[in-house]
């Protein structure tokens, strides 16, 4: 299983699309590693500095409809090669969400009030998150506090994470 623990990147916007996560012009790369310098290159909003903000992050927390648009699995790959294996959001576009689990990564949905709570209490701080998949719990920690938030994940999704993706599972079962 991949690692699901580390510092948090907060992206305070709805509808971040896969063109923003990894622009189409980099889809000519045929290795995942080659995508590394281009993560979130076309994402621009006030206060976001791509180089500084994505450095050494392992978890992404964002708003609704993350990963909408193109089906490119280059979006999860660009996150993965930058060390981010978990995205926590209010909701995801279907294809992006499935791509995450198909790669053995985590796309965790939390209700809007819990996402709001995370932004209010932890954004702009040195925040870390650890995912406990046995207890379906997010452990969130900053310099002044630590707490646990429960989440739900389907059996299929959890199996894909534990088996590190859909190809291995499908090969065994179909």
């Amino acid at each position: 299983m991949k690692g699901f623990s580390g510092k948090v990147l907060f992206l305070d916007r709805n509808d971040i699309n896969t063109d923003e996560i990894i622009p189409a012009k980099y889809l000519t790369e045929i290795t995942k590693e080659a995508l590394k310098p281009y993560l979130l290159e076309d994402l621009s909003f006030a206060g976001f500095n791509v180089k500084e903000d994505t450095m050494d992050k392992a978890v992404l927390v964002t708003r609704a409809n993350f990963g909408c648009g193109s089906s490119r699995e280059h979006a999860p790959w660009a996150l993965e090669v930058n060390g981010i294996n978990v995205v926590i959001a209010e909701s995801f576009a279907r294809i992006f969400r499935q791509n995450m689990y198909n790669c053995g990564m985590l796309a965790i949905e939390l209700p809007q009030d819990k996402i709001e709570y995370l932004f209010e209490n932890y954004a702009g701080k040195d925040t870390s998150i650890t995912i406990d998949l046995d207890k379906d719990t997010i452990i969130v920690t900053s310099s002044d506090k630590s707490e646990e938030i429960n989440f739900k994940v389907g059996e299929f999704d959890k199996t894909l994470v534990k088996e590190e993706g859909w190809v291995g599972y499908a090969d065994k079962n179909y």
Binding site: L27, T28, E29, V167, D171
Partner: protein, 428 residues
């Protein structure tokens, strides 16, 4: 309780349900292009699983960057080409015979009512126009599709649109789908299928139905779906005439996929389209839609007519009817990309290509290139494009560029004026 089209297709293709709400479906078609497939191929090779489940059900095309623009895109084409050859995939469309995937695959008769279709391309939802369940997927789903001929989905909740009335002159399927996306918002149909039904749809060509279904994904939808009818049968007839004695027989067989009257829907919307205006996007999300009247006069630098949304013969005819004997504005450059070689040939024979050229358009070979800023019409920083494509995301057609999505008619009229313009200005 009755069933929707998608439920009927799921029931007919379900292999099993390994987990709650996880439906593993048998696939009738796995479509491939050179952007998302090569990594699936190299991964299968690395795993020692370089196999295909059925070479007759896999169809492949080089369409995103063609002819190759550099060594990297040449390599992507080569990986796909070698793989197709190695596995005896006969329906592989290489340079000279290639077109935009969601235009060429229907044109070849590869999609039939009741089919399950996946492709590593979000606009795969286009093929639902034939009464199929067609979903865009990522490379891993594609890889498993190639290897095993299956794909896992959650239950397809369905939203139904009942559309009544006749579209006004100057208003087309593109305007209707932009209006629908505005109503649904960019995630209003996430994890759901969108059915387009009613007299407005019954009167539409397959080309227009494909334009509608193509943009289901822009509201988050898994697949668009139109019910199969005699228009579907007529479109497919050359490919199915050996299977059926008469067109009526084909229609009877295909009609079993139409949703039952007592099917259950997540939501039903009913609209009268008679007052619908030409629509256009602003901003960077496809649900940011206004009427052309509201956006009229917005300056543009480039016009692009083409893509899997609006690069078909009907689209070229409409645009050419507006451009005939006229010149585009000195302030714009304009590009038209017929979506397939067949469309290109037909446009040549009908004199449409000459009209485009005389108007000042650059006519390119069939390719997806400009739509996603990969080749053949990339915007410079700060430029705006009037485009018949499907996404207006920030930087989509080139870093720092803006895209206004619109119909081919509005795009043609806007080319003549150098600014967003209602096509009715040019109707006799």
């Amino acid at each position: 309780m009755g069933k929707t089209t998608a439920e009927k297709i799921f029931d007919a293709h379900r292999v099993n349900m390994p987990f709650p709400d996880t439906h593993v479906l048998k696939l009738d078609r796995v479509f491939c292009h050179e952007i998302t497939t090569p990594i699936a191929i190299t991964d299968l090779m690395a795993r020692g699983m370089d196999r295909v489940f059925d070479p007759t059900k896999i169809k492949a095309v080089i369409d995103h960057v063609t002819p190759a623009k550099d060594s990297k895109t040449a390599e992507q084409g080569k990986i796909l080409r070698d793989w197709a050859k190695r596995h005896g995939i006969k329906d592989f469309f290489d340079i000279g015979r290639n077109g935009v995937c969601h235009a060429i695959f229907p044109e070849k008769g590869f999609v039939r009512p009741g089919y399950t279709v996946i492709m590593g391309d979000s606009h795969t939802c286009t093929h639902g126009a034939f009464g199929a369940f067609a979903a865009g997927v990522g490379t891993t789903d594609l890889e498993v599709g190639i290897l095993k001929g299956v794909c896992a989905f959650h239950f397809p909740k369905t939203i139904k649109f009942v559309l009544n009335g006749t579209l006004k002159p100057g208003v087309y399927a593109k305007d209707l789908i932009l209006f629908i996306i505005k109503e649904l918002t960019v995630n209003g149909a996430t994890n759901m299928v969108i059915e387009f039904t009613g007299p407005t749809i019954d009167a539409m060509s397959m080309e227009s139905r494909m334009t509608l279904c193509n943009m289901a994904i822009e509201a988050g939808g898994t697949s668009g779906i139109c019910y199969p009818d005699m228009t579907t049968v007529e479109y497919l007839w050359d490919f199915i005439k050996d299977e059926f004695k008469t067109k009526e027989d084909a229609l009877k067989e295909y009609s079993k996929w139409i949703s039952d009257d007592d099917a259950s829907y997540e939501k039903v919307y009913e609209y009268d389209v008679t007052t619908l205006e030409p629509m256009v996007t602003f901003g960077f999300k496809p649900d940011q839609v206004k009427t052309v009247a509201e956006m009229s006069g917005t300056k543009i630098d480039q016009v692009y007519i083409g893509s899997c949304t609006n690069g078909r013969i009907e689209d070229l005819r409409i645009a050419a009817s507006i451009l005939k004997d006229k010149k585009i504005s000195d302030d714009v450059r304009a590009i038209v990309s017929p979506a397939t070689p067949v469309i290109y040939s037909r446009a040549l024979k009908e004199g449409l290509i000459e009209i485009f050229q005389n108007a000042g358009f650059c006519v390119t070979n069939p390719t997806c290139g400009a739509c996603l800023g990969m080749s053949n019409g990339v915007l410079a920083n700060g430029e705006a494009c009037a485009s018949t494509t499907n996404r207006n995301f920030n930087g989509r057609m080139g870093k720092g560029g803006t895209v206004h999505l619109m119909s081919p008619a509005t795009a043609a009229a806007s080319a003549l004026e150098g600014k967003i313009t209602n096509s009715l200005l040019y109707k006799a």
